[in-house]
Subunit: 278 residues, 2 copies
């Protein structure tokens, strides 16, 4: 089963478009974890176990591990998810972008070392920077298109001959880079009109949507703009609003917040069609 | 001394615009290193010692360490360079690009964990994705502008209203993002006309130029297109052509190749001015 198929199965099994972003911040962990050298792994594993039946994917963000010399804990965490929740795909959020032998090394890092099911990539270096990842036919490539931050406008909204740069990325992806069906795109929840535009360009391609929760993106607008005709097509990520909903009892808080967010998302999917397929 | 000042001092001290890229590939190491668990560190340290008086910078590429679980060897390598060759700045080639708290974590990774003097960044996410790195006033930010690969044309050559996207990145950098004097740009040696164009836009901003050596970029064209009026302004990177010039005796081969490359570069700098300032 390749990434897009695994994602489709998780959408259906858990009736969920919610992705929990694993951005561990040791300063926000409960005091009881302070004594463990693998506190980052333990914290994330608790969140994973508390939410695995409510999500369509987990998305660990690599910088939050690398800044703490916690690469081994990231390896262990992804292995833990695969072992205990084998139906939930893992997206390594790394936003890599490089060429040739270096891109090959990044692909090996994501798919061999960390055994992620998909990795986020930056499209600025173009099609040949993406090709080395396609050598892993079961894996997903999730390309930045329109990011959730205001500064994303600096380049992504530039007009490139009747369309914006992010639309050009969406077109290139749909028309060329997705020939093997391995691609998805990142479009921020903070710009629902642009989610709608990307959806028009790319058909049913999955969209990873960060920016709900702490960043303030609106769930209703996101779902209405981005859902496909089958009421899916979206990987709606929330990180901090889930992980730190209850600082003393993170697992409980995460489960509650994930339940609420999934319900709110599901309220705006085409429920008739959704129930029919699930 | 900040990064740009340290770079200027190294240009002068070693009369060199050459940067040695540290992209270790264990399959190309001499057999005698196979028995060491820290072979990657040992190989790179030999190259560093053999070339430190011939270069203006070292540029370790992080994927070549990360794919081998060798982050600790990368930390040790950068510490080794700082300790033994304190005049040579270290550029961590990571091409990071993210926002908010994640960008802060990447900045901590590059500047606190690895103690690099500069890091390469991807501009696709815009100005606010760069700001967290500026919180380290002594450090350099080297932004991708026009990369050396053919696929770079997919986005970077798109017309954005009378100029190409890479020119827009050069303008934004010179006009806004470089307010604190911490920025430099990446422009591939494979496109000398575009080096010239970037030089016209950015004044004396340092340019990191990959693509000579194994990628086939022409040194004469690169130097003539990119040098400043003082015959500097360039960080010309060569990786594989230096590291693997002699597979049995990498240090000897690297020294010979670095000597030749530095000489060839210097042939095309404005030698009168160069001798005057050095």
């Amino acid at each position: 089963m390749n990434f897009v198929e695994a994602l489709g199965a998780a959408w259906k099994k858990n009736d969920s478009l919610l992705c929990v972003g694993l951005d561990p911040d040791p300063e926000k962990f409960p005091a009881r974890l302070a004594k463990y050298p693998d506190a980052i792994f333990r914290f994330c594993a608790e969140i994973v176990d508390a939410t695995a039946d409510l999500v369509c994917a987990f998305k660990p963000q690599i910088a939050h591990f690398a800044a703490h010399r916690a690469e081994t804990q990231l390896e262990d965490l992804i292995a833990y998810i695969h072992r205990n929740h084998p139906d939930i795909p893992v997206i390594l959020d790394a936003k890599r972008g490089d060429i040739g032998s270096t891109a090959e090394r990044y692909a090996a890092e994501a798919f061999l070392r960390y055994a992620a099911d998909a990795v986020t990539l930056n499209p600025y270096l173009g099609g040949d920077s993406i090709r080395p990842y396609l050598a892993y036919p079961d894996k997903g490539l999730i390309l930045l298109c329109r990011t959730s931050n205001p500064g994303g406008a600096d380049l992504q909204l530039l007009d490139v001959g009747g369309m914006k740069l992010f639309e050009a990325v969406a077109r290139l992806t749909a028309a060329e880079w997705n020939a093997t069906g391995q691609c998805a795109l990142v479009v921020g929840a903070t710009y629902p009109a642009e989610i709608k535009r990307v959806r028009e360009i790319v058909g049913d391609l999955p969209l990873l949507v960060p920016g709900v929760g702490a960043q303030g993106g609106d769930i209703r607008a996101t779902v209405c703009a981005g859902r496909t005709s089958s009421g899916t097509g979206l990987i709606i990520n929330s990180s901090r609003a889930i992980l730190y909903a209850d600082r003393e009892n993170p697992a409980e808080g995460a489960r509650r917040a994930a339940c609420q967010t999934r319900s709110e998302i599901n309220r705006y999917r085409s429920s008739g069609i959704r129930n029919q397929i699930s």
